[in-house]
């Protein structure tokens, strides 16, 4: 019982986490090379080399930081990514935790991530880190709202808050077709929540690195790994909520899930390279004035469809 309920799920999540984070780093290096950025060495060894380099570096200290929060924040962000991966189903039976409210749990992972990212910048007791932290809180609230409406949209046809049920409800038609607004909105939220590519406003270059501006050495490694892990968790949730999860012909379920997760990851990383960067103020307007109303439309659409089919 202990093996089934404790050891296997933990191993599963850890394996996905390690492999996923490594793949994110490798694919991102490939893309950087394809977009013409000079890459020293092979893409397979590059992430390992950078990780090893960060591990040997000195961890920076600022004047009177909140040590506990500062050191805990990267680890907590990584833990939140692991929690997200734990509710992603690989097949009807292969789920680390098949909670009946797993969609809501993912929503709380997003909400708690806001707290953790804020703490990461706040506790450094440094100007740029603090600005990055407040900037993320301002934007993070809109990300949470958009993601929440979009996810309620996928819960409606499933009549359940459980990811396994959400996947089963897509047997006839995937949610990406049924609710065409859902996946694009969710991907943008994913880029925003991991502050990846154009939506990197919390750790932005104009803030000299934002919340991570004073972080170096091993804590920096954990922070970078945690961001990549959160991107992997996002791709897992997106694949289950919109792309039919493990459903698919010929191949076994977990393999389909793997293919779909990788596809979402590549799309996310590509978007990270292709989309233009927006200034924080304009991004805020974009989120509240354009994307949030679009998520209302998505939810209304899903609700009317559920009423007509029910």
């Amino acid at each position: 019982m202990i093996i089934d309920e404790l050891v296997l799920p933990v191993l599963m999540v850890l394996m996905t986490l390690v492999a996923g984070v490594y793949l994110v780093a490798v694919i991102d290096r490939w893309l950087a090379g394809a977009f013409g950025l000079p890459q020293g060495g092979s893409a397979w060894l590059g992430p390992l080399r950078r990780g090893a380099w960060l591990l040997t570096q000195h961890a920076n200290a600022t004047e009177a930081p909140d040590w506990q929060a500062w050191r805990l924040a990267p680890a907590l962000y990584l833990a939140l990514a692991a929690m997200g991966l734990a509710v992603v189903p690989w097949s009807a039976t292969l789920v680390a935790t098949d909670l009946t409210t797993s969609v809501v749990l993912w929503g709380s992972v997003e909400a708690l991530a806001t707290v953790v990212i804020f703490l990461h910048g706040w506790s450094a007791n440094a100007l740029f880190a603090l600005i990055g932290a407040y900037r993320y809180v301002a934007l993070g609230l809109s990300y949470i709202l958009i993601s929440m409406f979009v996810l309620i949209g996928v819960a409606l046809p499933a009549e359940s808050l459980q990811f396994t049920q959400v996947v089963t409800s897509q047997t006839e038609m995937w949610n990406v077709v049924r609710q065409p607004l859902g996946l694009p909105l969710f991907l943008i939220v994913g880029l925003g929540m991991t502050f990846w590519g154009p939506l990197n406003l919390a750790d932005a270059d104009d803030l000299a690195g934002g919340t991570a501006s004073e972080v170096s050495g091993p804590p920096r490694l954990v922070w970078d790994v945690a961001r990549a892990a959160m991107l992997v968790a996002f791709s897992g949730v997106a694949a289950s909520a919109f792309l039919g999860g493990w459903l698919g012909p010929w191949l076994p379920g977990p393999l389909w899930m793997l293919i779909k997760m990788l596809a979402v990851l590549v799309v996310l990383l590509l978007l990270g390279w292709l989309l233009p960067r927006v200034a924080p103020e304009r991004c805020m307007t974009l989120m509240w004035v354009v994307l949030l109303p679009l998520s209302f439309v998505d939810l209304l659409w899903a609700g009317i469809a559920a009423l007509l089919n029910g």
């Binding site: 929060a69 749990l105 909400a111 708690l112 707290v115 703490l119 706040w122 609230l141 808050l161």
Partner: protein, 204 residues
């Protein structure tokens, strides 16, 4: 007793975490830290609720308290003239009253816990906690919950409007002029007034 030992262990650990982090709320000297200690306490209570088969309410506690504590910390910092919540400040006030209230609440709740005769109600087979909660909230009791929701929202908007009427440099209706460096002096930090339109001189 048809639940595993792990439930008891988890309950004890979570209860200790909830009480200790709640106590830390009153020991810290920072609004932001106090908010997040309170968040840790609420999360521990949320997990205890999940152990009690309130699967939805427990998880709802996580995201509601996360957003609530974040927004609360933000608003406190904005209203309290304490730059970024970094300056130390006393987090407790009205000491005698609050100690009295705390002792009274402890005695009453402790008395209830020790003396009351709690009914034994095992979970009915086939209970779906999420569905039954949804039917309760959006069925017969929908009017109550919806009116409570609207009232709370109105209260929040009203409180912000009332509280933000008076800003750092006086009432909102009077415009925002910073105070002078000496009593009754010119507003501080204003640009020097140039004579005859400064812009005109520089461009030809």
């Amino acid at each position: 007793m048809d639940y595993p030992l792990g439930v008891d262990i988890a309950f004890l650990l979570l209860a200790v975490l909830a009480v200790v982090s709640a106590w830390r709320v009153f020991c810290t000297d920072s609004m932001v830290r106090a908010s997040f200690f309170l968040l840790v306490s609420f999360i521990a209570v949320g997990v205890i609720m999940m152990l009690l088969a309130a699967v939805y309410l427990g998880v709802a506690m996580f995201f509601m308290m996360a957003v609530e504590m974040m927004v609360m910390a933000l608003f406190m910092v904005m209203f309290m003239m304490n730059p970024a919540g970094l300056n130390p400040m006393m987090m407790v006030h009205q000491h005698r009253l609050s100690i009295g209230a705390g002792v009274a609440a402890f005695v009453v709740l402790g008395g209830v816990a020790l003396l009351a005769d709690f009914p034994v109600r095992p979970l009915p087979a086939g209970l779906e906690p999420v569905r039954s909660l949804g039917e309760e909230m959006l069925g017969d009791s929908m009017l109550i919950f919806e009116s409570a929701g609207v009232v709370l929202l109105t209260t929040m908007v009203g409180v912000v409007v009332l509280a933000s009427h008076r800003g750092r440099y006086g009432g909102a209706a009077e415009g925002s002029m910073p105070p002078g460096l000496e009593p009754g002096g010119e507003p501080a930090g204003m640009p020097e007034a140039e004579e005859g339109g400064g812009h005109h001189h520089h461009c030809h």
